[in-house]
């Protein structure tokens, strides 16, 4: 584990990277579809809620220093609960990453490789994952820290370069389909904050646990700003009828960038950077899943599991019969999975564990006083 410790900056970039990856495919579009022109207000609203949840998670996790959610589950309900929670989270990670990979590859196929079978595109990613998973988690975190600035620069560049194409009137009506839709139904957009799930697993990896609060809050704040930036680009560029038909809205926005006669089509450079981010995300998720698996099964070395996990991702990504189904899963099922698994289940478990700890402490205090 000593070799897998990561710095605060690396931890922030890992959590932030999860937010970033989901915006690359269809997240901004699905958010815009649910809350229409009120999306910006909605993101600020759900962002504040996500920040509150993050703070709550931090406050609860700090009571169990160095433990992740699987360890805490073991404390709460012994081995059975540890295994149960571990399996749920592994399933969540594998399912979400596989569906995201499938959708990303579908987009790549449509854009660049129409003659290539989807299987080969997915396999290319999986081969890269299999090779990189043999390296330390800290190395993956280091590379992630190098890639994240590139992605952020690409999005900022996308925003600035497209300013001339923006129509700021698109923001109106500012409350979209109404207050209820923005603030109540729009709570479903909490699903965009899937990166929160990773917060439950970070404590054992942190080189400087005292910076946990900074890591957690900074990553969620940065993630919220980033989502606002991505959604703004699409909201200002396309009218609602157009963005619903886009495969990768950010990619479509990139196609509009033009600098004189020489730089007319730069979208493939954006795609190059986003591929880097996608594979990095897959590596991080697979590594966390594997270490969780190692924890619940007590196996000595997780490396033999690399191919098993890669195969699982491959198999799950091929489960949806077509792009429409996998898109539906990403747009709806994934969002609810995030809310149920990472927000409700995780927080509920932490609260229960905290209560148990407090009760135990009280009992000990009473026992000591009676003695």
């Amino acid at each position: 584990m000593e070799n897998s410790k990561i710095s605060a900056a690396e931890a922030i970039s890992i959590v932030f990277g999860i937010f970033v990856t989901y915006t690359l495919v269809a997240l901004p579009k699905s958010m815009l579809e649910s809350t229409k022109t009120a999306t910006l207000i909605n993101i600020i609203y759900v962002g504040i809620i996500a920040l509150f949840i993050t703070f709550l998670i931090y406050k609860l996790l700090i009571k169990f220093p160095g433990d992740d959610i699987v360890d805490i589950a073991e404390y709460l309900g012994g081995k059975p609960l540890k295994v149960f929670i571990g399996i749920i989270f592994i399933f969540y990670f594998l399912f979400s990453s596989s569906i995201l990979l499938r959708n990303f590859c579908e987009c790549l196929k449509i854009v660049y490789y129409p003659m290539t079978s989807l299987i080969f595109i997915i396999l290319a990613f999986l081969i890269a994952i299999c090779v990189t998973l043999h390296h330390r988690f800290s190395s993956i975190a280091k590379v992630n820290l190098l890639i994240i600035p590139l992605v952020v620069i690409s999005i900022i560049f996308l925003f600035i370069a497209n300013i001339e194409n923006f129509s700021f009137d698109n923001i109106f009506p500012i409350f979209g389909d109404g207050l209820f839709n923005t603030f109540i139904t729009g709570l479903g957009n909490l699903g965009a904050f899937g990166g929160i799930t990773l917060l439950y697993f970070l404590p054992p990896y942190l080189k400087e646990p005292q910076k946990m609060k900074k890591v957690y809050l900074t990553s969620v704040i940065l993630g919220t700003i980033y989502i606002i930036l991505c959604v703004s680009i699409i909201l200002f560029m396309f009218v609602s009828l157009m963005y619903t038909n886009q495969i990768m809205p950010l990619y479509s926005a990139a196609r509009h960038i033009e600098f004189g006669n020489f730089f007319q089509r730069l979208e493939s450079i954006f795609l190059l950077i986003w591929i880097l981010q996608m594979v990095c995300y897959l590596c991080i998720i697979s590594k966390i899943s594997m270490s969780t698996f190692k924890k619940i099964t007590n196996i000595r070395d997780e490396k033999p599991m690399i191919f098993v996990f890669a195969l699982l991702i491959f198999a799950i990504s091929l489960l949806p019969k077509n792009y429409a189904i996998s898109k539906f899963i990403e747009d709806y099922i994934y969002h609810y999975m995030v809310i149920i698994v990472s927000i409700f289940l995780g927080v509920f478990l932490l609260i229960l564990a905290y209560l148990k700890k407090r009760k135990k402490k009280e009992l000990n205090t009473n026992h000591e006083q009676s003695i």
């Binding site: 900056a9 690396e10 290319a124 990613f125 280091k142 590379v143 190098l146 493939s268 594979v279």
Partner: protein, 566 residues
């Protein structure tokens, strides 16, 4: 028998099959002709020197295969000391010693019957005398022949008494001579080295504009003296180690005591002391033997022929390894930014050195990725090219019958051939090979429609960029991996290049050099003192590299240019 056959049998020679000379070293590779030799494994056999000269003589004769060895000289003579005569033996290797020193300062003083040698005074010298109850007690010093020989008879600056054959043979092999005297169970290892060697010349592979123009040579002592001249401090320690069971190559581990990290020094010595190899002939071999494992085969030790560069790293707190017979110093640990730095960087103003560093970084990316990107763009991502450029590329490729990958590989491999040929041919012809290869062949290939002109430009830019990498080994590494990216670009365009580059970066970030992360200073993007890729202004270079954990953190005062405050 025909008349023709009779004629031919009489006047021509037909070799008999049985007598045909047909030498085979091994008939069957699975059968061993000999049992395993003990050569090189007798290193631990520390046989003591015998008091009898005849026994020593026989032992050494068999050791040196004197009956067939032509350059080992056994010089027997009679040694005169304090009026007594002893049989003695000098052993040395012809061609490795200075004959003048041998004759004038060893043989002559030992053999001549001068006053000193013939002095017949009492051999027991009274040191003190005491009388008690009319009894005189005298404390006398006995005559000590070994001390007498080394302190009175041989006027040589470096003389050592050794008690085992291993030590004496090691001295003889390195160019010293060994003196054996009858009745003494020890030998004298006398330094009389005098073999021919190359003088100090200009560096040929690490050329700088403003720095000194001296390079290491093959002799380890010359190299240590070069470093000492630069460091000029008594805390510079040069420890001797020998590597190789047969060659016992002398290696020097250099560090500045009180500055270098003790753990780093211990690790270097630990790795070098735990090498079970028969021979060590160059610094390049040692580099491979003591490097951390890396999937990418990146150079993890800096190899330099410049004493000023070595001294600069020593003063940072790093450890230098010198190998006898190799004009290169190995510098540990080496990190990525070191391989993109030149010794001239510190001799120039910050702006210029940082500018050249940026150029080198771009050169590294071009060397690694440009051909791959070209293949990817022309095969998958045409839209990235402006229409006019796309038309010109298409027009230039119109007459080329080959696919882009074949065209590129032909050119890249041809270029590597020219480069290799340029290195191997005698130096006066080298530039000619370059001109013939690059200009004439390139022009001819374009005219013949084998390759397109745009590809010539791509390969030329890549080649030029590869020459801008200061470290030869790192440049080589990039050149090799360029082919991987060409294939990835051809297979799946930017997707392949992105995935390949990701794996490449991960492997690089995972590498370590003597416990130091290889990419420190670049990633993690944490502030580690003194590790920035770009050089700060000279007044701001206060800290030694933080990853070395040197015993002295700063290398200059907070305000180094104190004259400005006066």
């Amino acid at each position: 028998m025909h008349i023709k056959d009779l004629f031919s049998s009489l006047f021509t020679y037909t070799p008999d099959d049985k007598q045909t000379y047909n030498f085979n070293l091994i008939e069957d590779p699975n059968t061993k002709a000999y049992t395993d030799s003990n050569l090189g494994k007798e290193g631990n056999d520390k046989t003591k020197i015998f008091p009898s000269l005849t026994v020593n003589l026989d032992y050494l004769k068999s050791k040196y295969n004197l009956l067939i060895n032509s350059d080992i000289i056994f010089r027997e003579f009679v040694l005169n000391a304090r009026g007594k005569q002893y049989n003695a033996l000098l052993i040395f290797i012809d061609g490795m010693i200075n004959t003048e020193i041998m004759n004038e300062f060893i043989l002559e003083p030992l053999m001549m019957r001068n006053k000193n040698n013939l002095y017949e005074g009492s051999q027991n010298r009274v040191i003190s005398e005491a009388v008690a109850n009319n009894i005189t007690v005298r404390k006398v010093k006995k005559f000590n022949l070994p001390n007498f020989i080394s302190s009175c008879l041989i006027p040589q600056n470096a003389i050592k008494q050794v008690s085992t054959f291993e030590d004496s043979i090691s001295g003889i092999n390195s160019g010293n001579c060994a003196l054996f005297v009858d009745t003494l169970n020890l030998a004298f290892d006398i330094e009389v080295k005098g073999f021919q060697q190359r003088g100090i010349e200009k560096p040929s592979n690490e050329i700088v504009i403003k720095g000194p123009h001296e390079a290491f040579v093959e002799n380890i002592r010359t190299n240590t003296s070069l470093i000492r001249r630069f460091v000029n401090n008594e805390n510079l320690v040069i420890e001797n180690l020998s590597v190789g069971n047969i060659t016992k190559t002398k290696c020097g581990v250099c560090y500045i005591s009180g500055l270098a990290n003790e753990d780093l020094i211990a690790e270097v010595k630990f790795r070098m002391n735990n090498l079970d190899v028969d021979s060590l002939l160059s610094a390049g071999q040692l580099e491979q033997l003591i490097s951390d494992s890396s999937n990418l085969n990146i150079p993890q030790l800096i190899s330099s022929e410049r004493p000023d560069k070595a001294a600069s790293y020593l003063l940072d707190g790093r450890v230098i390894i010198l190998v006898n017979g190799s004009p290169y110093a190995l510098i540990t640990p080496g990190i990525l930014s070191d391989f993109l730095s030149s010794p001239d960087d510190k001799n120039q103003k910050t702006l210029f050195s940082d500018f050249t560093k940026i150029i080198r970084l771009i050169a590294a990316f071009i060397t690694l990725l440009l051909p791959g990107l070209y293949v990817a763009i022309t095969s998958f991502h045409h839209e990235i090219l402006p229409t006019e450029l796309l038309f010109s590329i298409l027009a230039s490729r119109a007459n080329v019958p080959f696919p882009i990958i074949f065209e590129l590989l032909v050119l890249e491999i041809s270029f590597e051939l020219i480069r290799e040929a340029g290195l191997r041919v005698p130096s006066p012809i080298g530039p000619t090979i370059g001109i013939v290869g690059a200009l004439v062949m390139g022009q001819a290939a374009v005219s013949a429609g084998i390759v397109s002109p745009i590809l010539i430009i791509i390969v030329a830019i890549t080649a030029t960029a590869s020459f801008a990498i200061p470290d030869y080994a790192f440049g080589f590494h990039l050149r090799v991996y360029r082919f991987v990216f060409i294939f990835l670009g051809y297979l799946c365009g930017f997707l392949g290049i992105a995935l390949g580059f990701f794996v490449y970066m991960i492997a690089m970030c995972d590498s370590k050099s003597f416990g130091v992360p290889y990419t420190i200073g670049i990633s993690p993007l944490e502030h580690v003192k003194g590790t920035s890729y770009y050089l700060p202004p000279i007044w701001k270079r206060e800290y030694r590299p933080g990853f070395l954990n040197s015993r002295k953190e700063t290398k200059q005062g907070h305000i180094s240019m104190k004259w400005k405050n006066r």
